[in-house]
Amino acid sequence: MITEHARQSLDRIFQKAAKSRLIVDAADTCDIRQLTDGDLPAVREKSMVVLTISSIQFRLLVILHVDETPAIGSYFCRNAPDKSFDEIFFEIANLCCGAINQDMQRYFPDLGMSTPYGLSGRCAAFLSELRPGHVARYAVTINRTVHLSATLCICESGRIDFTYEEPADQEVSGELELF
């Protein structure tokens, strides 16, 4: 069972991570709209990048649905035009999921995160086979022109309840912590 507090917390954590990590430059805009929780529309994109955050209590799938359209390709590859879209987008997905993992670690210290892997978009139709306790889908629009979508799918083995509070010391990434 996943409480309403936990669902809202997960939503806030995802939106914060996506807004800071799915953009290529800090000046870019990222609008995120959660699609209705009850009757989720079918996923249109043909490809998806999946990462898993696992704990003893749950397994969270962070899924980014994306197709390499000209608008998407030129946006994500603009700083590295010699690289493949997949290579660049997998790392962006990794950073986004890493930010989610970092925030959730404050409530679930035993988390482990997978590396990103690619699947056909058709797999999204079978998420219900995992018997998730909660699925949320989002429409993501960057700079009003780049459109992708995301799904959070959480399968729990016990009661999940936490209330996310944004940490006061926000940005800890990129700093070297010497031992």
Binding site: K83, E91, L95, G98, G174
Partner: protein, 121 residues
Amino acid sequence: MAKILVVDDSSTVRDEVAGFLKKNGLDVGTAVDGRDGLAKLKADSGINLVVCDVNMPNMDGLTMVEKIRSEAGNKTINVIMLTTESSPAMKERGKAAGVKGWIVKPFKGEAVLETFKKLAG
């Protein structure tokens, strides 16, 4: 010149980190996973600093560090982890293996350049 080895399965990260360090006058090599990293270390005794991801196929970064430390000639090589992982348990495992420091991605080169230069000797 002392050399830095960047170990990451993402070519985006390898190119970003290695490119930044090279641009700042450092001698840099790359490896695609822990297994490749160990092989490069064995082949090049001039490497003084390893910058290494945690989650990689074939051999993860912490296993690579543990193997580095278990070999007599590698006790003094400095290792910095550069990863999306930030769990205290992971960091403790890193400390126990002899990791010198930890950076949560994304990489911000200017913030760490001087320390990297010192550690690379």
